[in-house]
Symmetry: C2
Subunit: 307 residues, 2 copies
Amino acid sequence: MSLVVVGSMAFDAIETPFGKSDKIIGGAATYIAWSASNFATPIKQLSVVGGDFPKEELQMLEARGVVTDGVEIKENEKSFFWSGRYHLDMNTRDTLDTQLNVLANFNPVVPDSYQDCEFLMLGNLVPAVQNAVIDQMKQKPKLVVLDTMNFWMETAMADLEKVLSKVDVLMVNDSEARQLSAQYSLVKAAKVIMNMGPKYLIIKKGEHGALLFHNDEVFFAPALPLEDVFDPTGAGDTFAGGFIGHIAKTKDISFENMKTAIIVGSAMASFCVEKFGTTRLKEISKADIDARIQQFVQLVNFDIELV
Amino acid sequence: MSLVVVGSMAFDAIETPFGKSDKIIGGAATYIAWSASNFATPIKQLSVVGGDFPKEELQMLEARGVVTDGVEIKENEKSFFWSGRYHLDMNTRDTLDTQLNVLANFNPVVPDSYQDCEFLMLGNLVPAVQNAVIDQMKQKPKLVVLDTMNFWMETAMADLEKVLSKVDVLMVNDSEARQLSAQYSLVKAAKVIMNMGPKYLIIKKGEHGALLFHNDEVFFAPALPLEDVFDPTGAGDTFAGGFIGHIAKTKDISFENMKTAIIVGSAMASFCVEKFGTTRLKEISKADIDARIQQFVQLVNFDIELV
């Protein structure tokens, strides 16, 4: 049984108030795989890249237990490219350039060897592609997690609604939750969205942490207060990787365990933003991760006695 | 030994997207006293009102254990009046009218019977007045807590700096912390502010919870996700009341106990916003409060085992 990760593997060029990157490795599935592979392997990666995507990047992931049989390489085409500039608040950004390239005609084919999929992580991608992957799965995975973004709500809402009806967990940020539900209150937004399909909803609030909703239950996860957020690119994907990695490791899809998985995801995201791109994710050790998770435990730990 | 609360007792007129109030009872010290008196009495109130302030409001507080010897009544003058309109996000507001009235020449005189002050809660008020109260205390209280706002940073910064150098705990919201420190990162802001005097800093983030800083330690308290925020007026004061009320009840000024006090303050603030003005604070029972605090425990509770 395995964890299947679907999403882009790509190039990014990033400008932040702190500096500017060259064309560096990015893509939702890249971040998810780097993050999740700290917790569970094998990870079966489903993506598409052009001939310009460095083979060493795939080899580094393989060395960590990421299977790349499902990563299609279109040698004569170019990889997806995104360029953006973050504002001073590091929460909002302008897209400077988007070149779909290989993503323009991505028709994912799920390899037979991926049919043992127990956990399916659908990284942010065209909803029709996410839907095609779900439909190719001969057995329903134990848990299907979906990440998406406002762009698809504006351009492919019908497809997105179709996918939403088939997933167990949805991850969006707070403004996307408001947009998707047409509700300002996040509690009301959660109710509307959970009626669209997902039984669990994770609302990511950046420096303000994350909320997990399920039926009438709610869990509030903190974000680690950081001195500097150097580059937020990929933080949401890294969060998703830590979340699904912990679930795949423990094979426990209870609400209680999802709470823990969110803490793990938040800890991973807190590393991601410390350097440009995937740099920090490639450096950290298990000891670093354990220490960071302990910081989260301390961050919210309090004793109360009602007398 | 006692808890002394300093601040305005006043009238407010409030407009929110949900409705409009008449001229209702407000003022920082009013909210603080209603909130804190659930946990510790006597509370010794230091304030000034005009002849128009209803005597029954003072009597209701007295019935809860609030001593009003230090509430000066200027029979021929009018109480402080504030009127404001909240935006849809319920986080930002426009001031429509401010009439200082009795607050214009408020020279507080600390009664001798207040000199046993163990805990001093300085509600949001002119910094020079807050300073005058500190200077009249013959013995340094065990803990001095200060609430303030952006208005004083813009109009009375020299006085505010003087007060800051004399207090133990400062409470401000996130934008005020950024303004006071000229730092965007709240972690950096906290360091700058703790160098101005306060050993403890509480940054209130509304629906995003609150942070407590002390030396290199940090605690992240959640806010209860609410379906509706009906009226945020007084939520910060109510938070302050719950915080200082718990500290005064337990007589424990450790960082660990301050964490608990912030949870108590957050629980109290979550009631305040449910109805206009002090309405909800006048209704709730100990059982309501205990149940709400339990919700906070559930909200952030998670198990993690590092293997």
